[in-house]
Amino acid sequence: MGTEQKLVPRLLTGNEAVALAAIEAGARFFAGYPITPSSEIAETLSRELPKVGGVFIQMEDEIAAMSAIIGASLAGVRTLTATSGPGFSLKQEAIGYACETEVPCVVVNVMRGGPSTGLPTLPAQGDVMQAKWGTHGDHPAIVLCPERIDDAWRLTLRAFNIADKFRTPVILLLDEIVGHLTEKLELPLKQQPKLFDLPAAPSKEGYLPYRFGGDFPPPLIPVGQGVPYHVTGLLHDETGFPTNDPDLAERNARWLVDKVEKHKDELADFETDGVEDCDTLVFAYGGCARSARGAVKMAREKGLKVGLFKPITLWPFPEKELQEAAKTAKRVVVAEMNLGQMAHEVEWALGRRIPIVLHSKLGGEPILPSEILATIEGRD
């Protein structure tokens, strides 16, 4: 942990925190393509990776960058790429390939206004559903969303750990607010990341790279380490070869999702504030959670019983944890910079038992604490 010593404490943007935490996590390969507002991640890693013997490459396009990190990961290196909305869309086919071929990697998406070129320099949270459903077919989605710089650091460490444990891509979903704000990072972190124990390298004898079932997938033996096997995006059997056998194909497809779903509780991550007796629960994540905290504070100062629920793991959605936090609530205010992508999920998770009030904003300006307060008070 030599890097930590050098870094205590320092001012970092969210993008810089992700880049440096990736190195701390052992990432030694980054492939990317310039795109606002994520480019500082590439710039920081182009400077820092070669210093630690790692490789940075600016690829010819977003798809190539995603493909290259999958290749590098198969060769045994911890890898990441970073992008924003339009680039995230371009990467989706290859993200699905990483899901199907069970290749660990971390994909950072610093959200900006969309659709299309949208608002390139301004924040939004419109990719929440793309992060879950962006690629075609049924597939797993693990999406982590930081609110602060210490979050960004901690979740980056966690993202690499989860990716390796589950052998699947992990999406780090920032918004432009978190990507570009500067905050003090104090190391060591007050709150350490929740990490899974990673198993030792498996035996090369009778290695099945794609075993279905079991608790977790078998660890990956990198290509070029004496165990030649086949990797394909076609549905395949446990050896990795394509299959048209309906039973095997179904087991393969289900396994990808099941391996994540059955560890939902361990993946869940969230923060609450004042939910014990709340009448109104504010639900907010990422940059919006910062404003929501202010609104909750102002409301409580006014004597209103208001609490905050901030999901950190957006997918799998922490529904049990939300249900627990909303036990006393008579309504939920969802503040997000999209047209209610998460509000629908909240409504579903709470069984339409109580009203969900959506406070959304799309024009590129952050939602202000006073605006959320107005919604809490029913003044908007």
């Binding site: 070669p50 490789v55 490459i57 798809i63 493909s67 290749g71 198969l74 995006g233």
Partner: protein
């Protein structure tokens, strides 16, 4: 030349392959295997990467580290593998649709970077797997399922395009002249830096039948008759060269390679 034990390099349980009778891809696969054997590469240290299409299926049949990737992106995957572990021998097998149309961007940039991988492009002038649609190398006037009145587009001379982009070695061969093909492949494999070999491979099913080359014999004869060496082609006019297959080494040079440059950068930064 010593006989090669093909079974040593094949996943025999995955054979028979899915290529049609008369397809040239099996001949190309055997040529690649012979070249790998003669180059002294081992299974463990060699990675084959392919994309989607008829050419893409080759990675299922050869017993190496094999990656069957997404459509057009094999070179980008290979770039990640090579940079993560420069000791590995990395061969990309692609086709004219996979490598020139959807994946053309990656091809020209890999050549520009001069990354030490070999790209073998099996050019059958058609999209075979999807049923005979025209590709970027379908000749002008040829019939295809998406060119029912004849193709009005100009085809790529992809070997010349790659040579113009960079790389250290560019060659073209045919599955008719397998001795030359294997020699070219071996040279490509042993070349340090980016190497590219275009292999003319007949597709009787999706191309020949619609274009007055009704079977594999007719297509093989066509390859033979149209082939001309690089040396002899120099004396032809552009018009005379138009329908010919110029075979042999088109580019052979020693520009500095990408992973060597990167290693130097790391050493320089860590030394200071």
């Amino acid at each position: 030349m010593e006989r090669v034990d093909y079974d040593k390099y094949l996943r025999t349980s995955r054979i028979p392959h899915l290529w049609c009778p008369g397809c040239g891809h099996g001949i190309a696969m055997k040529s690649i295997i012979r070249a790998v054997d003669h180059a002294g590469w081992t299974k463990e240290d060699t990675v084959w990467v392919s994309g989607i299409g008829c050419s893409g299926r080759i990675t299922g049949y050869v017993d190496f580290n094999t990656l069957h990737t997404t459509h057009g992106r094999a070179i980008a995957f290979a770039t990640g593998i090579k940079l993560a572990n420069p000791k590995l021998n990395v061969v990309v097998v692609t086709g004219d649709g996979d490598g020139i149309a959807i994946g053309g961007n990656h091809l020209i940039h890999a050549a520009r970077r001069n990354l030490d991988i070999t790209v073998v492009l099996l050019n059958n002038n058609i999209y075979g797997m999807t049923g005979g649609q025209c590709s970027p190398t379908t000749p002008q006037g040829a019939m295809a399922t998406t060119a029912p009145y004849g193709n009005i587009e100009h085809p790529f001379d992809i070997a010349s395009v790659v040579a113009a982009c960079g790389g250290n070695y560019v060659a073209r061969g045919t599955v008719y002249n397998v001795n030359e093909l294997e020699k070219l492949m071996r040279q490509a494999f042993l070349k340090h830096g980016f190497s590219f070999i275009e292999v003319m491979s007949p597709c009787p099913t999706a191309f020949g039948r619609r274009n007055k080359l009704k079977n594999s014999i007719a297509m093989m004869k066509d390859l033979k008759e149209r082939s001309i060496s690089v040396k002899k082609a120099k004396d032809l006019t552009d018009d005379e060269r138009e329908d010919r297959i110029v075979s042999g080494v088109l580019l052979d040079r020693e520009k500095v390679e990408y992973t060597d440059m990167y290693r130097q950068l790391i050493e320089q930064l860590r030394g200071s």
